[in-house]
């Protein structure tokens, strides 16, 4: 997997992505529409100012209580490059990996909106050079890397219907 570089966009603790980033409470609204208003209730203007390749830097338990993988599809639509948070809701974490969105568990204190952030998921490093932040995180397990590198579970199984997770994937 490649090193991910982007601009930090900051969200707080305990963001429920079913509420903030899915149609659960906006029935009938499509993914494209929600991508323009996502997270507005917790961070007004968040989606509007979001640029492709930006990195979401969140507080603890990001995606808590959320079960819908639509949230990840919406974040892809927004152009989210990765999410860094000290912890994630269990189901959200799984959905992100299954849908090819890198999720990195890391202390995010001291990182501010607009900071240039650099993530090395293989070596296990999160860096913000301008703030002298260099944090070590457990490297993503090889199996998770394989799923992410393929772009998620469905493209992975299209190539590897035998579930061979030990393959060395070409990074996208």
């Amino acid at each position: 997997m490649n090193i991910i570089k982007g601009s930090a966009r900051v969200l707080g603790d305990e963001v429920n992505t079913d509420v903030q980033c899915s149609s659960k409470y906006l029935p009938g609204r499509d993914t494209a529409y929600i991508a323009t208003v996502a997270f507005d209730q917790v961070a007004p203007g968040f989606a509007k100012g979001f640029k492709k390749g930006d990195v979401i830097v969140a507080g603890k338990n990001f995606g808590i209580n959320s079960s819908r993988e639509q949230a990840v599809h919406i974040m892809h639509q927004m152009g989210v490059a990765a999410i860094v948070a000290p912890s994630f809701g269990r189901q959200f974490f799984r959905n992100a990996i299954n849908n090819g969105l890198a999720v990195i568990e890391c202390d995010t204190s001291g990182i501010a909106a607009g900071d240039a952030i650099e993530i090395d998921p293989v070596a296990g490093k999160v860096m913000v050079a301008s703030r002298n932040i260099a944090r070590a995180v457990p490297p993503l397990p090889a199996a998770v890397q394989a799923l992410l590198a393929a772009g998620g579970l469905i493209p992975f199984l299209q190539k590897h219907p035998d579930w061979n997770l030990n393959v060395k994937e070409q990074t996208a």
């Binding site: 338990n61 808590i64 993988e69 269990r90 189901q91 199996a143 997770l165």
Partner: protein
């Protein structure tokens, strides 16, 4: 070095050896479930997986049940059309289908004999932890996962660490597994067991009837648990046999298994608990709640809509009337429970008292169907599992969460009430 139940079940499904917490395994899944609220997404994912492949097949599809429970009955055209698509899918592929009125996914799966001890079972729902009551590893996934399962029969799992919780002593009559989970929520906080499995052990668990054990495993979802496993005993085996399940392969933890944490709860002395409005982990003992009026009492859901819950409510309301101004709705968790309660005369008791009985399904758990929408400033006491602001369609209402005993006793007095203080409140399930 020993292993937990979670490590053993995941390991035995991923090649044989017990797995280790933290490891990622690819495991054979025994059974899975999609319910109607996630089916739209799941069916899309199946199409995506098969796109452009002439050789695409779903050899494992008969081990996935489709359940029409959340949109039961469908509140709009979109939901009705999801149901049409689910029925057509079942017809075409032979997956078992549970239609509107048959019941909630987590109830109909065990009742349908689809799982047994030692199994690995997933569903597109966080409360899939319920299957742990039968010593099966049950956990929540999404549509992508189930589409992968139908094609390959396998899924990836991160093997969870386990918290071991010992329940010391049988609960008092009128006190329920619900009160144990609320106690745990007060201790660990909502999602306090995120990513982790729970193992409930001890005399408190042995004394529980199966209905109550299902509450214990089900409600672990609010703790964020990935699975909530119980050991199997004669009660488990008898229940599974009566429901036509496959031969149990019971799994126990090793004496030297490694746990992330150990917790002991003195269940013999535990008073009933309630979660106050909006926060499932804002928990207090019912005896400490003074003069809290309620206007609505709801019994049902996959957490507490089982036969013993309805029996307990009827024991409290027999020959009596709901307090003036209180509305009460009872929703059995499945058609089988509905039938049993009807045959036992429980609906006559409840209806005479002033309650309404609804067809089996998710019902009043969440405002999807309009079964119940709260008015401004209304205070609801519910046996459901979640009480966040607006869950019942109105952020200006309050939802308190308690056992069916607490709900029924509160409906009787119009105040949040300790069931042990009213006649019939000390009903005990014949475990």
């Amino acid at each position: 070095m020993g292993h937990t139940i979670a490590e053993k079940i995941l390991g035995s499904h991923a090649g044989g050896k017990p797995a280790k917490a933290g490891e990622i395994v690819v495991a054979d899944v025994d059974f899975s479930m999609i319910h109607d609220a996630r089916a739209g997404n799941a069916l899309k994912m199946i199409d995506k997986l098969g796109a452009g492949r002439a050789d695409f097949a779903l050899p494992h599809v008969k081990r996935t049940a489709l359940v029409l429970d959340h949109y039961s009955p469908p509140p709009n055209m979109e939901a009705a059309n999801t149901h049409v698509a689910m029925r057509a899918f079942s017809e075409k592929h032979g997956s078992p289908l549970y239609d509107v009125g048959d019941g909630i996914c987590h109830q109909v799966l065990p009742e349908g004999g689809h799982l047994t001890c030692g199994d690995l079972v997933v569903g597109t729902d966080t409360h899939s932890t319920t299957y742990g009551a039968f010593n099966a590893f049950g956990t929540g996934v999404e549509g992508t996962d189930v589409s992968a399962l139908m094609m390959t029969g396998k899924l990836w799992f991160r093997v969870p660490e386990t918290i071991r919780i010992e329940l010391q002593g049988a609960l008092q009559p009128g006190v329920w597994a619900k009160d144990v989970t609320l106690t745990m929520l007060g201790k660990l906080g909502a999602e306090g067991a995120n990513y982790q499995a729970l193992e409930y052990v001890g005399s408190g668990v042995s004394a529980m009837a199966i209905d109550d054990r299902m509450t214990l495993s089900n409600h672990a979802a609010e703790l964020g648990a990935k699975a909530a496993l119980l050991e199997a005993d004669e009660k488990t085996f008898a229940w599974l046999k009566a429901h036509g399940a496959a031969t149990p392969r019971p799994v126990t933890a090793d004496a030297d298994a490694i746990y992330a944490r150990r917790i002991v709860i003195d269940t013999a002395k535990l008073p009933p608990q309630v979660a106050r409005q909006h926060l499932i982990d804002d928990v207090v003992g019912v005896p400490e709640v003074k003069n809290q009026k309620i206007q609505v009492a709801l019994i049902g859901t996959c957490t507490n809509g089982r036969l013993d819950d309805i029996r307990q409510a009827a024991a409290i309301l027999k020959g009596r009337k709901l307090a003036k101004g209180v509305r009460m709705i009872v929703t059995p968790a499945s058609r089988a429970i509905y039938l049993a309660a009807m045959r036992e005369g429980l609906f006559e008791i409840l209806t005479t008292a002033g309650a309404s009985v609804e067809a089996a399904g998710c019902g009043t758990c969440v405002n999807i169907t309009g079964h119940y929408i709260a008015g401004d400033n209304q205070v609801v006491i519910s046996s459901a599992n979640r009480n966040f602001k607006g869950r019942l369609g109105n952020p200006k209402s309050e939802i308190w969460i308690g056992s069916a005993a607490t709900v029924a006793a509160s409906a009787l007095t119009g105040m949040i009430t300790d069931a042990r203080t009213v006649a019939g409140g000390d009903w005990r399930a014949a475990a």
